[in-house]
């Protein structure tokens, strides 16, 4: 039975030293994220972060076609970072990846460190840094926010795919050309990034339309028209 949904790095693609290295990177990154999330999460953001993790799990199941015979799926780092911040966001993606590997056999067990590094750490960090750089635009109006979400999500996807390139360069089978891998994986992930951008823009736009106070990226912004119904 080959899995046809989501799909992350399996075991055996990178050697043991590289797997161990990225396992250590993942553990360190998740520990830092947990410390950051402890400062960020209040009574309002904690349940939101739980829901964002569940939403990313669900949405990762929805592979969309990008080329004949090739699909892509949301990675979710930018989406999570914009809604609940980079620290809780990285933890959201990590929770999804751990469950997918252990329960759904999606993503190898020894490859878990590499998958967490790519999607939970690199993807989330890239998406968040781009979103923060463009924050003035995001705060202008809803169209600005949606545009920022799209661009941040696109960068998240492409940079996460470069994480795989790094891992393959360090610990992949040297019989295969690295340049061929780079060209294909980055090209395909530019297309997937467009899908990631659309899903992220729609989701962030929808949340901001109903509960702008639950969008981390907009925190601290002056929103005089916001009606607080508590």
């Amino acid at each position: 039975m080959t899995g046809s949904l989501a799909m992350h790095m399996s075991d055996g693609l990178i050697n043991a030293p590289a797997s161990a290295l990225f396992g250590a990177v993942a553990v360190a990154g998740v520990a830092i994220a947990a410390a950051g999330a402890r400062r960020d999460l209040d009574d309002r953001m904690a349940p939101m972060a739980g829901l964002v993790a569940a939403f990313v799990f669900a949405t990762q199941m929805l592979n969309f076609p990008v080329l004949p015979g090739v699909s892509g799926h949301l990675l979710g780092g930018a989406l999570a970072a914009i809604l609940v911040g980079p620290w809780a966001g990285a933890l959201c993606i990590t929770i999804v990846l751990v469950l997918q590997s252990l329960v759904f056999a999606d993503g190898g067990l020894t490859a878990l460190g590499a998958n967490v590094t790519n999607m939970a750490l690199i993807g989330t960090a890239a998406g968040y840094l781009v979103a923060v750089a463009l924050r003035p635009l995001a705060r202008r109006d809803r169209l600005g926010l949606v545009a920022v979400a799209f661009v941040a999500a696109f960068c998240n996807t492409v940079l996460a795919s470069l994480g795989f390139v790094l891992e393959f360069w360090l610990g992949g089978d040297p019989a295969f050309s690295l340049t061929a891998v780079i060209g294909t994986i980055v090209g395909v992930h530019c297309l997937i990034g467009i899908g990631e951008g659309i899903i992220t823009a729609l989701t962030v736009g929808a949340v901001a339309g109903v509960r702008p106070d639950l969008v981390y990226l907009l925190r601290g912004a002056e929103r005089p028209l916001e009606v607080r119904a508590q």
Partner: protein, 98 residues
């Protein structure tokens, strides 16, 4: 029930519908990573040859390999993610003074 709770319930329902229903319409083609690794498989050698699959209770987002139950597997996964994440984030949460 306040409006924030209603929003959270709505968000959870959207996730459950995506995993439980919309998942049946997902593309079954390999994703961008797998497609990259499968390049050259037809010609004899590809990176994907090195991949080792492992098993899991709901392997391949199915129940016992039955892809007709993908929606059920998706709902279970979404609820499991929700429970695990809620638990973890409430442990990490700042306690509000009340």
């Amino acid at each position: 029930m306040n409006r924030r709770t209603l929003f959270f319930i709505g968000f959870a329902i959207v996730a459950l519908v995506l995993a439980g229903v919309v998942s049946y319409f997902a593309s079954s083609s390999p994703d961008g990573l797998d497609a990259t690794l499968e390049r050259g498989c037809d010609a004899g050698a590809c990176i994907a040859d090195n991949a080792r699959e492992h098993d899991g209770p709901l392997a391949g987002y199915t129940i016992g390999g039955d892809s007709r139950l993908t929606g059920v597997a998706g709902v279970i996964g979404t609820l499991a993610t929700l429970a695990l994440a809620f638990g973890l984030f409430s442990l990490l949460r700042k306690r509000s003074r009340s």
